[in-house]
């Protein structure tokens, strides 16, 4: 595999619950995966991943309290240095709350949790079939953003159809769909691998 020797760290916040499958995904890609505890300083790696879940129970606002975890200072610094940072679902919310990505994620229009598989597309009109699971998935921003993924069809959670955004430099990606739930044989698609591939080779 192309990713052999690629060093990736998965940050574990209290309340993260997609960490196990995220680690499994990167191991499947033969990467060198490290678990990073949110209270410890982050070592130098090629990519940092903030997994999905409910960090600090999503209390106050989804992702808001996690921005005060000690590790976020390092992540912010590394992001500014141009290292890759990927935020999935709750990780996306944390990146927005920390100001690493523009905009913010607000409560779905339905005011309910939404779980289901959905079609997404990027700027090249390539389609990706990935699962979605969130309660605060409505992305809004007051300025133009570098869109990574859009919903191919309207879902009740999307406002301007944005499902994932890059930062201006393109080294930070935040996305609502879960690539770590779409790569094994029993999943409905293996597009999760393509998403990671796109991001690393961007």
């Amino acid at each position: 595999m192309r990713f052999k020797g690629y060093k990736v760290g998965v940050v574990i916040f209290p309340g993260s619950n997609c960490d196990a499958e995220t680690i499994r995904l990167f191991k499947y890609l033969e990467m060198d995966v490290k678990k990073l505890w949110h209270k410890d300083p982050a070592p130098e790696l090629d990519m940092y991943v903030l997994p999905g879940g409910f960090s600090y129970g999503d209390y106050m606002r989804a992702g808001a309290l996690a921005t005060y975890s000690p590790i976020m200072r390092d992540i912010k610094k590394y992001a500014e240095d141009g290292r890759k940072v990927l935020g999935i679902c709750n990780g996306f919310q944390i990146l927005c709350e920390a100001g690493i990505l523009p905009g913010t994620l607000t409560r779905n229009d339905s005011n309910k949790f939404y779980c289901g598989w959905m079609m997404f597309r990027n700027g090249n009109m390539d389609h990706y079939y990935l699962p979605l699971a969130n309660k605060d998935g409505k992305y809004i921003s007051d300025r133009e953003v570098n869109i990574a993924y859009k919903y191919a069809y309207m879902v009740d959670s999307s406002y301007v159809e944005i499902a994932g955004v890059y930062n201006d430099k393109g080294n930070v990606l935040g996305m609502m769909p879960h690539p770590e739930r779409a790569f094994e044989k029993h999943h409905s698609s293996d597009d999760g691998v393509k998403v990671i591939d796109n991001f690393i080779n961007l």
Partner: protein, 521 residues
């Protein structure tokens, strides 16, 4: 509340007048909810063992051997009464309670299902309950990060004022199984959330019928799924150290039932010092003992392991305090600020067994039986069915299947209940719940392994209710024996009666199945 007759038994067993704290303890421990006093005599006859069963009834959950070191624990539990009083919190804490039952034994929870019963869904009051229950269950399960594989809803008029909320949890381990039976003396640690005044008397409330007048909201607990998630991770980390002697979650009747259960099962004595219990607010000793605040556990660990325990729970920012020890002897002693509030022999707590009168009714067509139109897809979307990445068949299928984390084997889980048929003929209804599941499993090539049951019935003091109950157990036992699928865990919910009207007999069956290879079925 204790009946005058029961109070006399307490006095004879103690040989003196019980103190206020002791009385509260007897009251909770002898409630129907904790003691199973009306049902035990019948439940004894259930077919509950074959070679695949590692732990049967009596433990927190039934444990089945799946081969190659894989073990599966599962159990279904009701949270009916609280869900009527406060739908969101009632249902949420129902999910929390059953999840705790599973990881208390050292298992990682890998799947949830639920079976719900409501009144007319077009009625405004019922809508509030339906929405609250679905929100409560889904928010809790989603936040803790366990996929919900099945959610089924049945509507009938009799559930309008007595909704039923049954939640099932499946856990997996390939390591050691921890029980609530200690084999040596040790220190008792309290871990998890702080104790508050919520849920005091919950066990007693669940053992009474509803009238129209009283507000019972303070008896409902409040759930915190974030705390539960931390508790799962911290507990599993502690189990992995191998220093745990016994563990028990604090469910109904809180510290009292968890500590006495461990001591009773080990044949040892227990000293509890309430000074150590982390409190949210100043409380009386009996309130601390009976509080049903959620997300709390009791661990008995090796004498010298204190440092490891504190280290792990501090890492996860959870409260952890030594509150007592397991000692030789037979007494249950509770102290606070140097005063002794309770000193009773544990044998005196041994619950009573009632042989309630039964009467059988003739088969009976339910004239209220109406079909309701309802959008089932919408609430099912609320449940995260893919989290953990192991789901093979999720919530939109008739059977839920998850892959085991370390092998290609899969666990199948499904529940069934046919209350309308049970009301017509309880034997036919019970049998049909089992055979309908067997049919589904056979069609999909899944091997059925074991069953769990949640027996929702009306007031056991009504003879026909008890008659239905007895027949239901008999039928279930016969069927279990015939197909060799033991009933390894379960829950009984009596007193589902509001203003003198009982629900239809509603036994819910949960069946666990083995999928040899999830890629080849």
């Amino acid at each position: 509340m204790l009946t005058p007759n029961e109070l006399d038994i307490v006095k004879t067993r103690l040989g003196r007048e019980p103190s206020k704290t002791e009385l509260a303890i007897f009251d909770a421990m002898w409630s129907e909810h904790c003691s199973y006093k009306s049902s035990k005599i019948h439940l004894k006859h259930l077919y509950n063992y074959n070679q695949k069963v590692l732990h049967g009834p009596g433990e927190n959950a039934g444990v089945i051997d799946f081969g190659d070191g894989d073990k599966i624990a599962f159990k279904i539990e009701s949270h009916n009464h609280p869900s009527y009083i406060e739908p969101y919190q009632g249902a949420a804490t129902g999910a929390g309670g059953i999840i705790r039952d599973i990881f208390t034994m050292g298992f990682r929870p890998i799947a949830l299902t639920n079976e719900l019963f409501f009144g007319d869904p077009t009625d405004r009051q019922n809508k509030r309950i339906i929405e609250g229950v679905n929100d409560g269950l889904s928010d809790y399960g989603n936040c803790v990060g366990i996929p919900t594989l099945q959610s089924k809803t049945t509507f009938a008029e009799c559930y309008a004022h007595n909704p039923l909320v049954n939640a099932l949890c499946v856990g997996w381990t390939n390591g050691r199984v921890f029980t609530n039976t200690p084999n040596k003396l040790g220190d008792v640690y309290y871990v998890g959330a702080k104790t508050g005044r919520d849920g005091i008397g919950g066990a007693i409330m669940a053992s009474e019928t509803f009238g129209d007048d009283t507000d019972k909201r303070p008896t409902v607990q409040v759930g915190d799924p974030y705390m539960e998630k931390l508790l799962i991770e911290a507990s599993l980390e502690l189990f992995a150290t191998g220093k745990v002697i016994a563990a028990q979650d604090m469910g109904a009747a809180g510290i009292t039932s968890s500590s006495t259960e461990i001591a009773l099962r080990g044949g040892m004595g227990m000293i509890i010092d309430l000074d150590g219990v982390p409190l949210r607010q100043p409380m009386e000793p009996w309130e601390i003992l009976l509080s049903e605040s959620q997300e709390r556990m009791l661990f008995v660990v090796n004498k010298k392991a204190g440092k490891d325990v504190l280290g792990i729970f501090r890492k996860w920012d959870l409260d952890c305090q030594k509150i007592g020890e397991l000692v030789e002897g037979d007494s249950f002693v509770v102290r606070q600020h140097g005063n002794e509030y309770c000193n009773i022999p544990l044998s005196a707590l041994e619950p009573l067994e009632l042989n309630r009168e039964t009467a059988f009714r003739s088969t009976n067509y339910n004239k209220e039986h109406k079909e309701y139109e309802y959008d089932y897809i919408r609430p099912r979307r609320q449940y995260d069915t893919d989290v953990m990445g192991n789901t093979v068949m999720g919530i939109h299928n008739e059977v839920g299947v998850v892959k085991l984390p370390t092998s290609n084997k899969g666990v199948a889980i499904a529940t069934a209940s046919f209350p309308h048929l049970c009301y017509y003929n309880i034997e036919e209804g019970t049998l049909h719940s089992i055979t309908s599941l067997l049919e589904k499993y056979r069609r999909l090539g899944i091997t059925p392994m074991a069953m769990t049951n949640c027996l929702n019935f009306g007031n056991p003091e009504v003879h026909t209710v008890m008659g239905d109950f007895k027949k239901c157990i008999q039928t279930m036992s016969d069927a279990a024996k015939y197909w060799d699928i033991p009933v390894v865990s379960g829950n009984v919910s009596f007193y589902n009666e509001t203003s003198g009207k009982n629900i239809m007999p509603t036994p819910v069956i949960g069946m666990l199945g083995l999928v040899e290879d999830v890629y080849a079925f």
